[in-house]
């Protein structure tokens, strides 16, 4: 009877020692800086394919060493780049960092959730990001997304697009479960496309920033990506109930709303990027199960997928500076 406290204290010491040892070991192993800034030589001046390098967690220009900033998601347009970082600790928080061409930090916004999607308009004036928020065990067990839009012309930040008046199939829609993700801007720096989900369905939604309204165009469209000429939208379409492989990349012609599947038959969970007017880039889980590779496929449904960057994600084509 008297031995019980002794046994308990001894066990506590052993478990505490073991835990502490493991924590110190992990600290040693993970040592070094987590968030690194870009090297001074790394700029957007050189045109080409930029992406996030999985091994270093930094942005790179292909081909080359990853000298860019540490990001979980990356995108660039015009004179601006957008980098999403995960802040350490819980609950999950995301830092959206806006850079200029030389990767000088212009603005930093912290939002709750895990980094998910990042987009910059072709002009570099509009930025949007989506984080994926998880209710803690007191609140809901389900996930939700939070999408923000930042207008650099006015400095105005829309913290959550959810407040936009939404019209679904012609009728004004109110629901608690409305979630937006994967915003993509048109070249007029006013219209945008995104996914809206409500009542268990996803829709392609067209939004108008000035009028501050949005309407759904079509069902079963996720992560839209507008072609550089503004006539087509690449998106992932849910084609299977199998949770391991639910999506297939499609392209939708905005005039006439006709769609066709792409030659990529594997399930892609990414917001595809137009590498040029005819080619799409996207990330797929790597063969070894660690990280992702960047692949490309023709936008017209022909051809075959082509491995572009092993160990990469967030592909984006940076054109030559138009100055």
């Amino acid at each position: 009877m008297k031995a019980r406290p002794v046994v308990l204290i001894a066990a506590a010491l052993v478990l505490l020692g073991g835990s502490l040892g493991y924590v110190l070991h992990a600290r040693q192993r993970n040592g070094g800086q987590r968030l690194v800034a870009a090297e001074s030589s790394f700029t957007l001046d050189e045109p080409g394919l930029y992406y996030r390098d999985t091994a270093s967690g930094r942005v790179a220009r292909s081909p080359g060493v990853p000298d860019g900033p540490s990001c979980v998601r990356f995108h660039a347009g015009g004179d601006r780049a957008l980098c999403l970082r995960a802040l350490p600790g819980t609950p999950a928080r995301t830092q959206a960092v806006v850079y200029d061409r030389r990767f000088t930090e212009l603005q930093t916004v912290t939002v709750p959730g895990i980094p998910n999607r990042a987009r910059v308009s072709a002009s570099g004036q509009l930025l949007s990001w989506t984080t994926f928020a998880v209710g803690d065990s007191y609140a809901a067990g389900t996930f939700s997304t939070r999408t923000s839009i930042l207008d650099l012309r006015t400095g105005y930040l829309v913290k959550s697009v959810e407040s936009i008046p939404l019209t679904v199939d012609g009728a004004r829609h109110h629901a608690a479960d409305v979630n937006y993700w994967g915003v993509n801007f048109a070249s007029d720096d006013n219209r945008f496309y995104a996914t809206v989900s409500t009542g268990g369905r996803t829709h392609l939604v067209e939004g108008d920033l000035r009028a501050w309204s949005a309407r759904t165009l079509r069902e079963n469209v996720e992560c839209p990506s507008l072609s550089p000429d503004g006539t087509r939208i690449a998106f992932k379409k849910k084609v299977s109930a199998d949770p391991a492989a639910p999506w297939r990349l499609h392209v939708l012609e905005l005039a006439g709303l006709r769609e066709h599947p792409l030659a990529e038959s594997r399930s892609v969970d990414d917001q595809a990027a137009w590498l040029d007017g005819e080619t799409l880039g996207y990330a797929l889980p790597a063969q070894d199960g660690k990280g992702t590779d960047v692949w490309s496929v023709p936008a017209d449904g022909s051809g075959t997928p082509h491995l572009l960057v092993p160990g990469g994600s967030s592909p984006v084509t940076v054109p030559a500076a138009s100055k």
Binding site: L8, V23, R27, G89, P91, N116, G135, A139, G199
Partner: protein, 422 residues
Amino acid sequence: MMYLATTGRRPDAPPRPAGQGRRVPGTVIALGAVSLVTDVSSEMVTAVLPLYLVLGLGLSPLQFGFLDGLFNGATAVVRLLGGRLADRGGGRHRTVAGAGYLLSALSRLGLLLAGGAAGGIAAALAADRLGKGVRTAPRDAMISLSAPPEALGRAFGVHRAMDTTGALLGPLVAFAVLWATTDAYDAVFVVSFAIGLFGVLVLVLFVPAGAVPGAGTAGAAVAAAESTSTGRRRSRALGDPVFRRVVTAAALLGAATIGDSFLYLLLQRGLDLPPLLFPLLPLGAAAGYLLLAVPAGRVADRTGRRIPFLCGHAALLAAYLTLMAPPGWPAAVLVLVLLAVFYAATDGVLMALAGPVLPLDGRASGLAVLQTGQALARLVGAAGFGAAWTWWGPRPALAVAALGLAAALVAAWRILPEREAS
């Protein structure tokens, strides 16, 4: 360690005559300590799991949602099974509960060993849920068997307060580990495993095994309560008309609750609360629950559990009505306080209400039936409110929910037995 110091002394203290104990029985404190330690362990993992799966492993949100929702339905069935197993063979409560705690602790090792394999992670999460489902009813049965019937409210209050303390501490511990290791999720799993194992050890060392845990202190009282219910021995719990009325009332009221997440969402919208502060809402309610659980239990012991249980739901009704008033900080604080009152006056109190109604050898399975019925009813209530919100908008939905809860309250007033230990 404070709790452990107390528990270390308690079992050695001379047995007190039943009914006079001004102190909470040692077994209840020990079970509270087990729950506290276990909740630290499990809330650590809950807090980091989404980060680990999505950032660490690169799983998509959809896959995460799938993994997360996969076993929620199965918990209800497992809980019923846990109750049955504990009752069979005359009180294997500690063994069944201990197996549940151990399984959950071991599941952290499973997370560690699974690496990035989705199948392994799913199996580890399943093991955790299985353990949680199995242990709940035997644990509550042990609490109800350890304290004299007239002090059950306070006993459950103490247990729930300790349980909530652990739930509040868990994310802090996880944060500390992530901060110290620059986001080594595996270190969180290892520490969680060690803490979980410690919880099992506290259970084994300080919670007495046997048909009637804590027989020395409360055996006489329990036996006295039992003598009135010998006619119901070995009968199926739901066959008892008094217990059936308790379950019916709890399920009716459960179906009229809208779910906390909706409450918090309404609060956040009303206040236009910065999203980074959103986690403070459930934290505030949990802190209030922690403070009020013991006083509410004491009141329940004095007045009988029926009144506080109904008043708790009246507090929830008041919270709905407050949400319909013009928003503002005073209203928000009032809603959180009312929510805390609701939990303090209903959660442990319901167990204290139902416990004495059930026969000794059917207590765990009876409590499991009650908890499962209430949980399923709440699920239906939350789903219904979500649908009402979509169709009519938040305010009309809230009005309907308030009407529904008022009706359920009137019904429960009539259905609930006047004297619990009839």
